[in-house]
Amino acid sequence: MGEVFAGRYELLEPIAEGGMGAVWQVQDRREGDVKAAKLLRQRDASSLLRFIREQATRIHHPHVVTPLGWAGEDDNVLFTMPLLRGGSVAMLVGDYGALPEQWVVAVLDQTLSGLEAVHAAGVVHRDVKPGNLLLEVTGRGVPHVRLSDFGVAVPADMPRLTEANMMIGTPGYMAPDQGSDPDPRDDLYATAVTGLQMLTGTRPPHDPAYVPATPLGMLLLRAIGPDREARPQSAGEFRRMLAEAVPPRPWEPGETEVLDQYAAGRMSTPPPPPSSPPPPPPTPREREKTALRRTAELEDRPVWPILLLAVVGILLLAGGVTLLT
């Protein structure tokens, strides 16, 4: 049996390692079901601030993952979310390479519909990418996407807590002309890059010469083009342009299929829970390898801001403790 967190959530298996926390599959012993939970790993005040902000971002929409609740134990915190069993769009592209146009359009339209709600709530996601688009298990039918990981999302009108010229997002998915103020249009740029990744089966940067010269390919290239004004200005406008480029057609099931990633149960023996003592320091050889890998994985990891107002964080920490007790 895995470690039980706060007397309620049994840690089953890690799903993903994020910039500031790990996402685990957990068994909720009170409600009896399996959920996803994000565990806070870094325990400094700024991380806690972001963590609290993320779990408080509750946008209820069919294409957005909404946090369910949170729990704390000693100096660890987690919040739970529904477990999406179909994996991510990044996994789908890994399994199939370039996706059929109808899949690309469905995923994009649903993501943009989620972003409409996110932006209407005054929030900018800032980390739209295939790995953050999670899927319900729908087999060969129309996919159902939910936008996930609001770890670096911010209210558009909130005073910045980061350094003035700090960029946040994942390299490759960020507009080259992105400013340091959160702008909903940066989410649209990242959505277009995601579309190109689905259409070509390759990660950014995308060479226009290898993008299919179809109306969809042209629209996505325009949406990441150098002319800011020619790009879609809102999620709603992007959806209309998408519908014009690719008129709706009846769904044709093909080879592509969203599989249940959790059907087989545990893939491996669970690694030690995050609260166990840290592993011994790596040998020089291992350290070098980790560094190598970290460099290589930059493409898929958000860039984390380092500097935050510690005082605000500490205040929130105090607030958090009060909430927990």
Binding site: G94, G201, D207, Y210, L259, Q261, S268
Partner: protein, 167 residues
């Protein structure tokens, strides 16, 4: 379609069932199925479906290229240290990021595919004999057999790039 039928199709496509192929490659490397999925860039569910014959084909050509590389690494594992193996596994995992430009995609994939074909039908010695026999008759063909049959990855890439415009 039944699992038996699927596995028969895998034999025709890949020379043997994918479950056997993957296990043969990964056992000497000490990889679990979860780690293998990560190296290949396939989801755990997809790898499991392929290995049990619930699905016939590896749909993503990049993943197929990685599997070729993994099979080669597995065959050579005896002569390598743990850290050499780990380093090579990292390289295989990163194959996709090298392929972000379209030209590279074709280069790596095409070269690996030709090599896979040659090695599937002939031994190294046979290939070498074929090179000698063909050198007079068809020097271009002899070069192809030599480079793709026994050349290094870099030589294959360079050769493929040099003829890519003709494809």
């Amino acid at each position: 379609m039944g699992v038996e039928e699927n596995i028969q199709q895998q034999r025709e496509l890949y020379g043997e069932p994918l479950g056997d192929l993957v296990r043969r490659a990964t056992a000497p490397l000490g990889l679990t199925q979860a780690t293998t999925a990560k190296v290949l860039g396939l989801s755990p569910a997809m790898l499991s479906h392929l290995m049990t014959g619930q699905r016939v084909k590896i749909a993503n050509p990049i993943a197929l290229g990685r599997l070729h590389a993994l099979v080669e690494l597995g065959a050579a594992a005896g002569g390598l240290t743990r850290s050499q193996i780990d380093e090579r596994l990292d390289e295989i995992r990163e194959l996709s990021s090298e392929m972000t430009t379209g030209a590279r995609t074709v280069t790596v994939d095409g070269g690996a595919a030709v090599r896979g074909v040659l090695r599937a039908v002939a031994s190294g010695r046979e290939l070498q004999q074929a090179v000698e026999a063909l050198r007079e008759v068809a020097p271009g063909l002899a070069e192809v057999l030599e480079v793709y049959g026994s050349g290094t990855d870099d030589e294959i890439r360079a050769h493929f790039a040099s003829i890519r415009h003709l494809l």
